[in-house]
């Protein structure tokens, strides 16, 4: 019976640990994307980009960041 227990423990533990790792990674990436989004959108965060008016660049994506960038560049 010890082999049976060992088999169940290994499989269930590995699946559980991987599931926890997946949830942790999802939370980490959600936060990273949100932080990057906030950085792009913040005034002055991408000042030089907005200042030079890169078409389709970060300023355009960030909206308010583009305006902030233009101000920073000026």
């Amino acid at each position: 019976m010890k082999y049976v227990i060992a088999g169940y423990v290994f499989v269930l533990s590995l699946l559980f640990l991987y599931a926890v790792a997946l949830l942790w990674r999802r939370r980490k990436y959600t936060r990273l994307v949100a932080a990057a989004d906030a950085a792009v959108g913040s005034p002055g965060g991408v000042g030089p980009v907005g200042a030079v008016g890169v078409p389709g660049g970060v300023g355009a994506v960030g909206g308010p960041g583009g305006a902030g960038g233009a101000g920073g560049g000026a």
Binding site: G7, Y8, L14, L15, Y18, Y29, T30, A36, V46, V52
Partner: protein, 267 residues
């Protein structure tokens, strides 16, 4: 760039699948360890049948089957989309976890049954090869490249890996091996297991498939966020480089001319 929120329906579906997978797995373990009878030949060792074929089913047929289909759909010009690329990559990663479970639980079963942890048997060897090839796929995925180049490269790699799947399946038919033949997916499609053991085995298959689906959904979401973050970082880097190109910088250093020696320039 902004965080693309999942729809409430998708969040709800993921949670329901996750909860169903958890409940199903708990029931499988309960039935497998306490309720089902021991086997006449193998005794209590037969209880490993409720998880080992289940994880093998997911790893071999579900995960790599989906990877194969998704890779084909990516390579087909009419259906080419990064959705298929992300789906294939997510499926391979989850499949590798199930493949490790398959190999290790099989080895644990093999020790008391065959007397050895490992034998270079056709089924075991082809399964180990599939695991190594899958790790190779994940390694290729991490090689830096343009997203389209990476996706195409990985799709071809997936097709190469998928060649091993039928070899694993038919290995017990083509060669006389230590590993037993298929219990459920045999040539006649007539399961050689009955009663509570058959129902518990079926529940194990369904539960572990649900576990896979839940993991796939979460892993796919991570892949979307990774791509979103990667493209955002690329946007910032490109914009910064463009900005550097147009902003007046320091005066260029003079090149070595006729009136300068190499020592003066390097100094």
């Amino acid at each position: 760039m902004s965080v693309q929120q999942q729809s409430p329906r998708a969040v709800w579906a993921t949670r329901v699948i996750g909860l169903s997978a958890l409940v199903g797995t708990v029931f499988t373990v309960w039935l497998g360890l306490w309720i089902t009878p021991p086997d006449r030949t193998q005794g209590d060792l037969v209880r490993l049948v409720y998880i080992h074929p289940g994880v093998a089913w997911v790893a071999l047929y579900v995960a790599f089957g989906l990877t194969f289909v998704a890779s084909m759909l990516y390579l087909w010009p009419r259906t080419r989309s990064f959705f298929w690329d992300r789906l294939a990559a997510s499926s391979v990663e989850v499949g590798v976890v199930f493949m490790v479970c398959t190999v290790v639980s099989g080895s644990i079963w093999g020790k008391p049954t065959w007397g050895v942890w490992w034998a270079w048997d056709a089924r075991l060897t082809s399964t180990a090869l599939l695991l190594v090839l899958s790790l190779g796929y994940l390694a290729i995925r991490r090689v830096p490249a343009e997203p389209a180049v990476r996706a195409k490269r990985c799709a071809f790699a997936a097709l190469f890996v998928a060649v091993d799947v039928p070899i694993v399946h038919f290995s017990v038919v083509w060669w006389k091996t230590l590993h037993q033949g298929a219990t459920v997916l045999n040539a006649n499609l007539s399961p050689t297991i009955h009663g509570s053991m058959a129902w518990t085995l079926l529940l194990g298959f369904v539960s572990l498939t649900l576990v896979y689906v839940w993991m796939l959904l979460v892993r796919y979401r991570i892949a979307v966020l990774e791509d979103q973050l990667g493209s955002g970082e690329l946007d910032v880097a490109l914009a910064e480089r463009r900005a550097e190109g147009t902003t007046p910088g320091p005066a260029p250093r003079p090149l070595a001319g006729a009136d300068q020696t190499v020592e003066e320039v390097t100094a």
